[in-house]
């Protein structure tokens, strides 16, 4: 009987302590939970800020790239045509009408070519906003520009032309990725053939670029070299994956997979 009473007393004491401690535990849990959520919200804000700043940086880089292309085009193409027109017109001798007529006709041809080139330039300027009309068009524009150089044999399979889905921020980053990859090829690869393929399958956008340049040892190459660092950073930012394969004199292949939109 005595033992039973002791057992009941112990049981009551334990349940009383639990009842008294429960509110402590609850308040502690609420505080911890709010602290965790606050930290999480701060992290999210920081990530959003980082993402926004990266988007801004990308936009500036795309603009820079466009400006560089325009400057090159003006200097190497339109500028040359107009100089040639001036030279031709200066050499017109009105006493020899037949020769003068031929030179004026030539000049007219140069001016028409200049106008055509300027129209192309206007398209390029518009190309900066073309990303808003869809990633397929933006990629096509970039490929057209590359093909105009005439240096490379291009093999293109752009299945994204007319692709209806859009994601403005991702589109901008994808375009910049392609620009950086192409820049790297122009600057370092010494390639003659470039193979560009883009398509969309099961919520994933694929962008593959292969070239037959000098290649490099992937293991020996620091990621920060050749602008690869910023490519990797941006891929990571949009939860994408990049697979790079290369070996000396065997060219380089880049396979990009991006969840889309």
């Amino acid at each position: 009987m005595q033992e039973q009473t002791t057992q009941i007393t112990v049981l009551v004491a334990i349940s009383t302590i639990i009842f008294l401690l429960m509110p402590f535990v609850l308040v502690f849990y609420v505080k911890i939970s709010i602290k965790y959520r606050k930290n999480h919200a701060l992290e999210k804000t920081a990530m959003k800020q980082q993402f926004d700043s990266e988007i801004l940086q990308t936009r500036i880089e795309v603009q820079d790239q466009t400006m560089q292309s325009i400057a090159t085009e003006l200097h190497d193409n339109v500028g040359q045509l107009l100089s040639l027109t001036t030279l031709t017109l200066n050499s017109v001798d009105l006493s020899n009408l037949e020769k003068a007529k031929k030179k004026i006709e030539n000049s007219l041809g140069f001016v028409n070519n200049s106008i055509k080139e300027l129209r192309e330039l206007a398209k390029l300027l518009h190309g900066e906003q073309i990303v808003a009309t869809g990633i397929g068009n933006a990629i096509e524009q970039e490929i057209n520009w590359l093909s105009k150089s005439g240096v490379y044999e291009l093999k293109v399979n752009n299945q994204l032309l007319g692709f209806s889905e859009t994601s403005p921020d991702k589109d901008l980053i994808i375009l910049r990725l392609l620009q950086e990859v192409i820049n790297n090829i122009i600057k370092h690869a010494q390639a003659t053939v470039i193979d560009i393929e883009s398509y969309f399958r099961d919520g994933i956008l694929f962008l593959n670029v292969k070239e037959n340049g000098i290649g490099f040892e992937v293991e020996n190459k620091n990621k920060s070299g050749m602008g690869l660092n910023s490519i990797y950073k941006r891929i990571e930012m949009i939860n994408g994956q990049l697979n790079l394969t290369s070996s000396p004199n065997q060219g380089t292949s880049i396979f990009i997979e991006i969840p889309y939109p």
Binding site: I8, T9, V12, S15, T16, F19, L20, M22, P23, L26, V27, V30, K31, S33, I34, R37, K38, A41
Partner: protein, 183 residues
């Protein structure tokens, strides 16, 4: 503040007067419980209305409480301690507190719990009524048990009252600071 004045009056004057006159002041606390439910429900209503429309649940809770309250009087009279009402009040107010904490945890707007007067007021209520539920559950047992000259039930409630009023005092300090900042 009005509630505090009412509590002090019950404790210091009515309770002592009843003890002197009738040699039993339990019925004073039974009457006090009636108003306790009103005050506490109003306070909780004020805290909960920031998150939801608590009118319905407050009315249901109050109805359950007052049914138990009057049912006990009808069956036992006013002189014995109304354990039914006290137990039900403890459980109902504790559930309201849980409901409030649920909103605090899930609300989109994050609260600064260290300086929020409503949070500490609700915490005080939770501590007191959750603890007092134990006291009410083991009412008979605690009333018969002694540590030295002190009754276990009395001791438990003294501890709870100290925690309750400490938290209430802190809640009032937070409110006063909040008012100063707002003015």
């Amino acid at each position: 503040m009005l509630y505090m004045v009412f509590v002090c009056f019950t404790e210091q004057f009515a309770g002592r007067w009843a003890a002197r006159t009738f040699h039993n002041n339990v019925f004073v606390y039974n009457i006090y419980t009636f108003f306790e439910c009103v005050f506490m429900s109003y306070g909780i209503y004020q805290c909960l209305k920031a998150y939801t429309r608590p009118k319905k649940i407050m009315m249901i809770g109050s109805a359950i409480f007052y049914i138990c309250y009057f049912a006990f009087f009808l069956t036992h009279g006013i002189m014995p301690y109304n354990t039914w009402a006290a137990s039900v009040l403890g459980v109902i107010l504790t559930l309201y507190c849980f409901y409030y904490f649920y909103f605090v945890i899930t609300a989109e707007e994050l609260m600064d719990v260290n300086t929020n007067p409503e949070f500490w007021w609700m915490t005080a209520v939770l501590f007191f009524y959750f603890g007092s539920t134990t006291g009410n559950l083991f009412h008979e047992l605690f009333s018969s048990m002694q540590i030295g000259n002190t009754n276990i039930r009395g001791l438990l409630f003294e501890v709870l009252v100290v925690i309750f009023y400490s938290l209430l005092a802190y809640s009032f300090i937070c409110r006063s600071r909040q008012r100063k900042l707002q003015s």
